[in-house]
């Protein structure tokens, strides 16, 4: 019943080929694992820059968390600029040029803006100095007052002498009465 000396091997090869083809067909049909595609550049990259900017329309809300349409457009612009290869400093400079320095979370260190950086530490320093002086004044008695008190208050020997005189007078009085 054999088809020759290689008949059995041929059938075996055909079976293996069939199984392989079936395997490939099944593999192709199987659902692939799909990961969520991060937009390029990622939200994190966009928000890292957006966090340093404030839209003039929404005061006191950083751009990365601002929900308005204007801020959404700004974030989209940052994404486009990052995709074009702009650096962080170039993007910041673009926003300053277009919308003014007030969009920056950290004001540039020029002109009156220096007050923002200099005044708070100065005020804190002055407060610490005042507090220190006040505390020292409360804990260390005033020298003048100490001296005055010392002058007004009798010394221990004076007090003893007064006490002796008083006792002597008291005894005299008792003797007179008894």
């Amino acid at each position: 019943m054999s088809n020759g000396p290689f008949g059995g091997r041929t059938r075996l090869s055909s079976s293996v080929l069939l199984v392989l083809l079936l395997g490939i067909a099944v593999a192709v049909q199987m659902p692939q694992t799909v990961h969520a595609q991060e937009p390029t550049p990622s939200d994190d990259e966009v928000n890292r820059i957006a966090h340093q900017l404030y839209c003039p329309v929404c005061e006191n809300t950083p751009l990365d968390v601002c929900p308005t349409e204007a801020c959404r457009q700004w974030r989209a612009l940052i994404r486009r600029q990052l995709a074009e290869g702009w650096s962080e400093s170039r993007i910041q400079q673009y926003f300053v040029d277009q919308y003014g320095a007030r969009v920056l979370a950290e004001p540039p260190r020029t002109g009156l803006n220096w007050l923002v950086y200099i005044l708070p530490p100065l005020i804190i320093l002055a407060g610490v100095v005042m507090l220190f002086r006040s505390l020292r004044a409360w804990t260390v008695p005033d020298s003048e007052e100490t001296q005055k008190d010392a002058q007004e208050k009798p010394s221990a020997s004076q007090a003893d002498a007064l006490s002796d005189t008083y006792v002597a007078r008291l005894e005299d009085e008792l003797k007179k009465r008894s």
Binding site: C55, P56, V57, T68, E69, A70, R72, Q73, W74, A76, L77, D97, Q98, Y99, G100, R102, L112, L115, L119, A126, D142, S143, E144, Q147
Partner: protein, 191 residues
Amino acid sequence: MSEKTNTTPARRGVPVWVQVLIWVGLIGLLVILAIGLNRSQRGTLQPGDRVGNFDLTPFSGYEYNSQAQVSLESLRGKVLLINFWASWCKPCEQEAAELRSAWAYYKDRGDVLFVGVDYVDTEPEAREYLKKFDITFPNGPDVGTKISQMFRIKGVPETYFIDRDGILRYVQVGPFSSEGQIRAIIDPLLQ
């Protein structure tokens, strides 16, 4: 008889120059605060105010007489409508059709000019907006928000009407309700 001598050093006070420095600093701070408060509470330019000069760099395709820059000084003698808008501003969309039709009514006269100032916007969206609402009068971005700061606008849309002598005559805060409303403001300025 012993003579009492006060050997305790006198208590040191704050030096005069430090006191002067502190007072000058405090007064300076108060002045800066007062200026800031005054500026923030002044509101928009008011009718009767003379409008200072500003330069607008129009979007490509929205120039005035093909000029790369429009200067307010160069427009003296015309009645001007300065409209502040933004593509993200929904109320601006409400008045876009009114502005378009009013411009269509006046544009051939030559003595009336509409100028759009795009406030805190991004150019692709701004262009899309202009195209969508078929707005053709000169328009450009408010670079550095200098123009809006000069007018001290409080939001968008806001529209300022300036007479031939450069005096502000009317301020419209919010969108126009009709083309007739715009014409009712401009026509008296042309007489």
